[in-house]
Amino acid sequence: MAEKLLELKRVSMAFGGLHVVNELDLHVDEGEIVSVIGPNGAGKTTLFNLITGVYEPTEGDIVFAGRSIKGMDPHKITKLGIARTFQTLRLFLNMTVIENVMAAAFAHTRAGAFRAMLRTPGMRREEGEIRNLAEERLAFFGQRLMGYRWNQPAYSLSYANRRRLEIARATATNPRLLLLDEPAAGMNPTETHEISELIGKLRDEGGYTILVIEHDMLDHGVKISEGSFEYVATDERVVEAYLGTKATATK
């Protein structure tokens, strides 16, 4: 039995009188790919916002790697090892592709402003490491985000590539848990398939545990959840439906 990486204990979230999440229990084990599904407005993105600390749950507790992260600042949660992508893309559009990824290495690097001003050897070494890390993370996407594009501003990328870049940026924070909010939204069937494979690869080669929101799964022929949020599935069948193969679904 793998250990629980993330656990939500009876988490509730209300905006004023609007109860979006009600006493939700959910757990994600190390090395798992878990899919969250539900209709529009069910509160899937809100769930991600709760886990990453954008909102603090009105009730319940969130435990990550054996430690409560409820009420922590988002950047501290990221530092602990949770990274996410956004449903409505939020890239740093006027920075270059590689800078987008390099910026996300902030939490696990150290050189401060004074060392930068003096350009100490340690700072320069770290800078080289950050660049290598970014190149490695971008290379994960094969031909899609290849070299000569790295010095282009991010706004010059196509929509699908922006989605890929967001994933690359999230992985540069060296997370243990990766939250992907509708990574295939707006993509064509071929690209959607590619993203599915990528998610498998992220788990198998990258070693990330993955929580993914994807509600448009009718193409795959299995529709599991309908109606309210309580039915959010951590069911193996969901994983299977999403990734298409039994093999990737097994823990």
């Binding site: 950047h75 890239l91 559009l93 910026a103 402003a113 290849m146 282009q152």
Partner: protein, 500 residues
């Protein structure tokens, strides 16, 4: 360039195999730079070479040129203007950290400049009989500025955008109030109130470097040593800030500017980064303040007011906020223009040169350009002929600022001896015609442009040159507006995309 010639990106071998997707939109964008190079020919190659020159080469050339300026110009006035320009460049560099990199609208920036100046005055004058050596005062003031920037940032901890602007503006106002009423602060005269700290009694000391006092004036004119001091400050600050910008801190600042929420969620402590940006900006401003106080042998509250804030912001925005080279060009353009416009004779050169340049920019070398220029000149002579035939007093009014240009222009633009109500009427009419001009197109615009230009010349000679102080800022405003329309991100600013 063929694919084979394109430099291979620095990636693992297994990933560079050609079996990639077909060329798409992204490729088009990626190769845009290459195409521009091909199109430009020899000129394009030169441009590309200049672009490729590293920043330190530009900086060295610039500093050397500025340092050689006193060799070519012996006039104390020119040297003083050069000094002011470099001081403005220093201020603009500091503001660029906060506004350009951090994306924080800090309207209290000038308060830190004032703080630096007052601190310097307090630490090396008779005010409290403290006379620290310059090498100690300057670092102390910089640290005080940095700490003050940090503290002012604290209340704005969770603010951004408009709210931050209002809060910093409030602090600026507090600074002004405290400084102007600081002559009985808890029973002590601290800031000298509205008289400031200065004069013989206060005896604010000039800089003392390497055992030598740097007197403010050298045999009656501006002491050029201060130009070298401010240049040295400028070069050091430029390089240090550059290094910070190229580090993870700089990347984090720019991420913060692009999207604070995304930055926070990618592990960057956004609030802390804001404070750091404030602190850096304030430290640079305080450093500029020390040299200002030393050079003027005193500080006066009226210096640190809104016009200065607006001027520095204009420099940053006009030059291209976010680009160090940009804000420097902005500082030069704005300060030199404001100086030129002080004198009616020089202002005239600027005015007509700008008009001709703008026409060239819009129409290039075309029939329309010939029609507009020829038409305007002809119209002028006709109007002048008729007016002088009616009465000599229509054309022999006083000229403002004598030089060869007005001697020629007197046969063309009418300068009546007595304008009467026409002063206001023509001014308003000019604004009306310019607005009308934006509504018509094609040859209509050309036709309308001819009388508009003549009217503009008339208003310029008869109305605007009689009030040079206001005219300076009107012209500056007009330039700012036109540059912002032509290049929304400033002269050297990177193209910015807000929403896609």
């Amino acid at each position: 360039m063929t694919d084979a010639e394109r430099p291979t990106p620095n990636v693992p071998d297994s990933l560079t195999e050609p079996a990639g997707p077909a060329v798409g939109q992204d490729e088009w964008v990626a190769r845009h730079a290459e195409r521009r190079l091909l199109r430009g020919g020899r000129l394009g190659a030169v441009e590309e070479r200049l672009r490729a020159a590293p920043w330190w080469a530009w900086l060295t050339v610039f500093v050397c040129l500025a340092a050689l300026l006193p060799v070519g110009f012996s006039s104390g006035y020119v040297r003083r203007v050069a000094f002011d320009t470099v001081l403005y460049m220093l201020l603009a560099l500091g503001l660029n950290v906060v506004v350009g990199w951090g994306g924080l609208l800090d309207l209290g920036y000038i308060a830190f400049y004032g703080l630096g100046a007052y601190c310097y005055a307090l630490l090396s004058s008779n005010q409290f009989d403290v006379h620290l050596p310059t090498v100690a005062t300057v670092p102390i003031v910089v640290v005080v500025g940095a700490v003050a920037g940090w503290l002012i940032g604290l209340p704005s901890w969770r603010l951004s955008g408009d709210y931050l602007a209002i809060v910093t503006l409030f602090f600026f106002q507090i600074f002004i109030v405290v400084v102007t009423n600081g002559d009985h602060l808890f029973g002590h005269n601290v800031t000298g109130g509205s008289n400031g700290i200065g004069g013989v009694d206060a005896n604010v000391r000039p800089f003392n470097l390497f055992g030598h006092d740097l007197p403010v004036a050298h045999s009656g004119s501006f002491n050029v040593a201060y130009l070298y001091v401010v240049l040295a400050f400028f070069a050091v600050v430029f390089v240090l800030l550059r290094f910070v910008n190229e580090s993870r801190i700089g990347r984090a600042w720019r991420s913060l500017r692009e999207d604070p929420l995304a930055a926070e969620l990618m592990g960057m402590p956004v609030n802390w980064l804001k404070l750091l940006a404030f602190s850096f900006g304030a430290a640079v401003a305080a450093l500029s303040g020390t040299i200002f106080a030393a050079l003027n042998a005193g500080v006066f509250p009226t210096t640190f007011a809104f016009p200065l804030l607006i001027t520095v912001y204009t420099m940053v925005i006009l030059g291209g906020s976010g680009s160090q080279a940009g804000v420097i060009v902005g500082a030069i353009v704005v300060n030199v223009l404001l100086e030129l416009l002080r004198d009616a004779g020089n202002a005239r050169y600027v005015f007509y040169a700008l008009i001709v340049l703008a026409l060239f920019g819009v129409y290039r070398l075309s029939v329309r350009l010939a029609v507009v220029l020829g038409g305007t000149i002809a119209l002028g002579f006709v109007v002048h002929g008729i007016a002088s035939a009616i009465a000599k007093s229509n054309v022999d009014g006083p000229a403002n600022g004598e030089n060869w240009l007005i001697d020629g222009l007197r046969h063309w633009v009418i300068v009546p001896r007595d304008l009467g109500p026409w002063k206001q009427i023509t001014y308003v009419a000019l604004i009306g015609v310019i607005l009308l001009l934006t509504l018509v197109r094609g040859w209509w615009r050309v036709a309308l442009l001819v009388p508009t230009l003549y009217l503009a010349a008339f208003v310029w000679e008869n109305v605007m040159l009689t009030a040079p102080e206001a005219t300076r800022f009107i012209i500056l405003g007009a330039i700012l507006v036109s540059v912002m329309i032509a290049r929304p991100s400033g002269i050297l600013g990177e193209r910015r995309v807000e929403i896609v």
